[in-house]
């Protein structure tokens, strides 16, 4: 079978276009075909990623036969491939989970799966592409598929959340586009490697302004405080599995764009400090606010924002250890937060307001879901032997190496806050009596399977992290080596 990075984007789009017709053949196919597609993407990831890990050279895909910087190119390196793999596996699991998650009519399931495929394709596109404007287009695909997904259910305030997202997302796209315009006006190119190679030719004032604008735009997608007002709303109003999609995919796309810009495209050293400081603020504010949330999904959303802050801190420290920590946290966040979102939506399945107290007593009624939620909670606060621990340990080690003692103390203090609110929920789920009688909805076997796979990943990586360690190191090396990125994408640049 063929494996090509282009298929990450081309096939989901093709399938999305085809799906309405496929639905006319057999109605069940609209659910099955996306699954086949996601399974293929996972195969694609494994095939490509093992190749990249073995050779340590990125796969550069030219599109339309034009070598970069003329044409658009995709860069499948150890770094981007790692994230793409996470996303594709997550997409498969989310698909398995959402298969008949709710009883939806034909039209709605069709739309749901089309949107799911496109949000996946968009996120992977953002990560793989080597072209700044193309990244913008993919970000728009991600955004435009997120808006309807957030507003998917009518009984919730989805439209409100979606509109907020659209409003802030509009700022993001304006800002990114303006930044691209400024860069293009100076360098006449849109290829990231080309821009990176010539960034010092840009006048200082334009460089600063374009950097700031791009930073703002990507930071909105990466859910940096104070730009993340929309995020808790969207997480809490979207269908359950979509929370996992947002945490695991779209937020990853945003943070990827941000770090790619800071690490590769621009050469501002101060940018790392800004990222670090904003990460700290995001972390503290989000976790603090999560402390007294009454809405379960909102609490998870704020916690997710906190994790994004942690991610920003990791990438803001800018050392190899820190980048490894960042990759690990990225992995953890994708897996653990997805597990939490997926399991929590069964805990509060039939509750209207998704309050924490509606999940009380579910430990007895939904034992499997509750224990999976518990594993997620244990993992996210960083208790060994779950995978969350290694991310935290590495982040702390990186901060120690960078002499950021205060940061260590802060991260740990925030972890204590995390313990308080997560354990409160876990205790409630197991030991409190539910006051209101809410009908319990048992997860179907496919949903359980998806959650169990996530939990297994958490435990396996937690016990034996060496399983991904080499990939993380490769990814970190790839991200930090700006020169090799440029030389791989533009092999002729050095000779010219």
């Amino acid at each position: 079978m063929v494996a090509d990075p282009i298929l990450y984007v081309a096939l989901p789009l093709l399938t999305a276009f085809l799906l309405p017709i496929i639905g006319k053949i057999n109605k069940e196919l609209i659910r099955i075909v996306p699954g086949l597609l996601f399974a293929f993407l996972v195969y694609n990831s494994i095939a490509l990623f093992s190749k990249v890990s073995a050779t340590h050279t990125p796969i550069i895909v030219e599109i339309a036969g034009w070598a970069p910087p003329i044409g658009i190119n995709l860069v499948y390196s150890s770094f981007t491939g790692f994230i793409a793999t996470i996303i594709s596996v997550l997409a498969l699991l989310v698909w398995a989970y959402s298969y008949k998650f709710k009883k939806l009519e034909f039209d709605n399931s069709l739309k749901y799966f089309v949107l799911l495929m496109l949000v996946t394709a968009g996120s992977i596109g953002v990560i793989l592409t080597g072209d700044l404007f193309n990244q913008f287009v993919f970000l728009e695909i991600v955004a435009l598929s997120s808006y309807p997904l957030v507003a998917f259910y009518r009984g919730r305030n989805g439209a409100e959340a979606s509109f907020k997202y659209l409003l802030v997302g509009g700022f993001a796209s304006l800002s990114i586009l303006l930044g691209i315009v400024l860069i293009y006006s100076q360098l006449g190119t849109l290829n990231m490697a080309d821009i990176a190679a010539h960034i010092d030719e840009m006048p200082r004032n334009i460089k600063i302004v374009s950097f700031t604008l791009l930073f703002l735009g990507f930071a909105i997608e990466a859910e940096m405080f104070p730009l993340n007002g929309w995020a808790p709303d969207t997480y809490s109003q979207a269908p359950g599995p979509i929370g996992a999609v947002f945490a695991g995919m779209t937020a990853k796309a945003g943070i990827y764009a941000l770090i790619r810009m800071i690490y590769t495209i621009f050469d501002f050293s101060g940018a790392f400090e800004i990222l670090l400081i904003m990460g700290v603020i995001t972390l503290v504010v989000s976790e603090g606010i999560a402390l007294r949330q009454e809405n379960l999904k909102r609490m998870l959303a704020y916690s997710s924002l906190g994790q994004m802050g942690l991610l920003m801190i990791a990438f803001g420290i800018n050392t190899k250890t820190a980048v490894i920590a960042g990759m690990l946290i990225l992995f953890n966040h994708a897996v653990i937060k997805s597990l939490l979102f997926l399991s929590s939506s069964f805990l509060v399945y039939n509750s209207k307001d998704k309050l924490i107290k509606d999940a009380y007593g579910m430990g007895k009624k939904l034992p499997l879901t509750a224990i999976l939620f518990g594993i997620g909670a244990f993992a996210i606060v960083g208790l060994p032997p779950f995978s969350g621990f290694w991310g935290k340990l590495y982040l702390l080690m990186a901060s120690a190496d960078a002499n950021l003692l205060g940061l260590i103390a802060l991260i740990l203090a925030v972890s204590v806050i995390e313990i308080v609110y997560y354990f409160r929920v876990v205790n409630g789920v197991y030991f409190k009596k539910s006051k209101t009688e809410i009908e319990v909805h048992k997860p179907r076997w496919n949903a359980s399977l998806a959650m169990i796979i996530l939990a297994a990943a958490i435990i396996v990586v937690g016990i034996y992290p060496n399983i991904i360690y080499d990939y993380l190191v490769n990814a970190a090396d790839t991200l930090l080596d700006k020169a090799s990125y440029i030389s791989h994408v533009l092999p002729n640049l050095a000779s010219n």
């Binding site: 409003l167 104070p226 007002g229 929309w230 504010v285 340990l393 308080v420 197991y430 060496n466």
Partner: protein, 608 residues
């Protein structure tokens, strides 16, 4: 390899036990019994071997040291006995698989801690121990947030202090290896020395419930099933002592760091005094024992803190002893709870004839705790006093003396309140606890007796761990105590003498007093014609030490817990207020974007 295998085997067995309990209760109990037997057998027969491997670029090293095997003996013995004890004790409860899963995980965690030769694996097992014990603390489902989360939060504060220390040590020493840390510690800058030892001390102080970080302990000890509390208080809290002793080495070897030792000793003494006072006024057996535990751990901290050879030896000895006698006492409390369903002093009395074996074990443990001959408590007290005297900590002696005296009060309260006095009707048909519960208690009380006469049995181990800690080998004799002025006390003689006196006294008392007693009902008290009201103090267990309470209550009303609570509330309230940043208005969010952009422009223009 064999080292880490034992831990993995325990974890694996834990999961098997869980599955077994899901299938069949009897099968599960058999599994528990098997591991309880296998654990000591395996531990005392296997050949220690070091093992290390790479995880995430960090080297994890395992292997017992002479020091850690001292604690491992305690963990293995106490773990096996509590497991045996648990089988009948927990039999009527639900979710047994879950209970034993966590029970075995915490035993495995403790052994893991003792096996770890580097800080990262120490931390991993520390956390495994913490969360498994947390899951048992909330096992009963009562007060899960108030007690459970509080325990977890304090543990987390401790654990995270350790984590911070670990990453800093990794930076300063280059590795996380524990002995390498000790070797390089001398090269640290002063700030680094102070910071790392402070953090590590905090970490271990939390687990060993040293004031002011003890707040979690009384409730956590009370809330978990008694069979686990024996292990919790007996062995798990000793992990804090283990770590503290490790850290203390650096403090001793560095003259500039003496201050920490002093502070530790003082904190220990204060803990001993206050916790003992608190224990005196408890009306619940479990609470009493919990506070008593904290007090005893305070003693140990004193010994470690003064840091002389004798002090450390005393501390280690007491640590082991405390594991035994507190294990017995919590088991006894559990047995009483198992048979009567009651733990409050006002509802219990006169169980001596109903539960004689329990009484015997508890008596032995109490005597050991109070530090009277013929039991080993005497030796530990002796050692501590001598250590304090020889290192000229006179004020600490006063504190320790005060606390020892007060300890007699609660010892008496416990014995009298539970076993002596007259039975109520509702506990008239109480039977002795099941044999499987008695066996561990009796075994341990024999152990205490043996150690009381022949402390040399364990001093062999202690002296080899002392040499690991950097002291010279301690000279010891099998059953002779010596002080630095050359006096010798032959314990066998002393104990025989004591036994004889006691036996004679007992016979005389029995003969003389037996005839004169007249049995009356418990409600039959002289009240001079006044009707007894509910608020009247008509039961001896009520306000047992009221006069004493009057004296010290002004001091006791300041509780550090209130301060912590208001601090936590303050944080909560602050963020509650801060939540209003998320106004819910999309336009405000858009405005934040522009504000952020403006700031970024200004910052970018000036800084970048």
């Amino acid at each position: 390899m064999s080292n880490i295998i034992i831990i993995l085997a325990i974890f694996g067995w834990a999961i098997l036990t869980y599955i077994a309990f899901r299938l069949n209760k009897t099968l599960g109990n058999i599994f528990v019994g098997l591991i309880a037997v296998a654990l000591p057998v395996y531990y005392f027969t296997y050949v220690p071997e070091d093992y290390s491997f790479q995880v995430m670029g960090l080297t994890l090293q395992f292997g017992f040291t002479s020091f850690s095997s001292l604690f491992a003996i305690l963990v293995v013995i106490l773990g096996a006995l509590t497991l045996l004890y648990s089988i009948p004790y927990m039999n009527k409860k639900d979710r047994l698989g879950w209970f034993y899963l966590n029970f075995l995980f915490s035993i495995g965690g403790m052994l893991g801690i003792l096996m770890s030769k580097d800080f990262v694996s120490l931390f991993i097992f520390w956390e495994i121990m913490t969360w498994s014990s947390y899951l048992i603390v909330i096992f009963s489902g009562k007060k899960v947030n108030k007690v459970g989360v509080k325990y977890m939060v304090y543990s987390a504060i401790g654990a995270y202090a350790m984590l911070m220390a670990i990453v800093l040590i990794n930076k300063w020493s280059g590795t996380t290896n524990i002995s390498h840390f000790f070797e390089t510690f001398a090269d640290y800058s002063n700030g680094a020395k102070i910071l790392s030892s402070l953090l590590l001390l905090t970490a271990f102080a939390v687990k060993s419930a040293l004031m002011p970080l003890h707040v979690w302990a009384p409730n956590a000890y009370t809330n978990s099933p008694m069979s686990y509390t024996s292990l919790f208080s007996g062995a798990l809290s000793k992990m804090g002592i283990y770590g503290m002793a490790l850290v203390a080495i650096m403090l001793y070897t560095n003259t500039g760091m003496k201050f920490f030792g002093e502070a530790l000793a003082w904190l220990g003494a204060i803990t001993a005094v206050l916790a003992t006072f608190w224990a005196v006024f408890q009306t619940d057996i479990r609470k009493l024992l919990a506070y008593s535990s904290i007090g005893q751990l305070g003693y140990i901290a004193v010994g470690l803190g003064i840091g002389t050879e004798l002090g450390v030896m005393a501390a280690l000895f007491l640590a082991l002893l405390h594991g035994l006698f507190k294990g017995i006492l919590f088991m006894a409390a559990g047995a009483i709870e198992y048979r009567t369903g009651k733990t409050d002093f006002s509802e219990l009395r006169g169980l001596i004839w109903k539960m004689p074996v329990t009484f015997f074990s508890a008596l032995v443990a109490i005597i050991a705790l109070a530090g009277m001959p013929p039991l080993s408590g005497l030796i530990s007290k002796w050692l501590i006093y001598e250590a304090l005297l020889s290192s000229e900590h006179y004020f600490l002696i006063i504190l320790i003396f005060l606390s020892s005296t007060a300890a007699f009060l609660y010892c008496f309260h416990f014995l009298y309140g539970v076993f002596l006095g007259q039975r109520e009707d509702d506990i008239e048909d109480v039977k002795e606890a099941p044999a499987l519960m008695l066996v561990p208690m009796v075994l341990m009380s024999f152990g205490l007796l043996a150690l009381g006469t022949f402390p040399g049995l364990i001093f062999k181990h202690i002296s080899s761990s002392m040499s690991y800690l950097g002291f010279n080998d301690v000279t010891w004799e099998m059953s002779v105590l010596t002080n630095e002025w050359g006096n010798k006390i032959y314990l066998t003689h002393l104990n025989t003498m004591f036994m004889v006196v006691f036996a004679v006294f007992f016979v005389i008392i029995t003969l003389v007093a037996r005839k004169k007693t007249r049995r009356v009902g418990t409600k039959d008290i002289a009240n001079a014609g006044e009707p007894i009201l509910a608020e009247d103090n008509y039961h001896f267990s009520q306000d047992f030490y009221k006069p004493f309470w009057r004296v010290i209550s002004p001091v006791m009303k300041y509780r550090i817990e209130t301060f912590y609570n208001s601090f936590a509330n303050g944080i909560g309230e602050f963020f509650q207020f801060f939540r209003r940043v998320y106004t819910g208005n999309g336009q405000t969010y858009a405005l934040y974007v522009v504000i952020f952009l403006t700031i970024l422009f200004i910052v970018g223009a000036t800084l970048i």
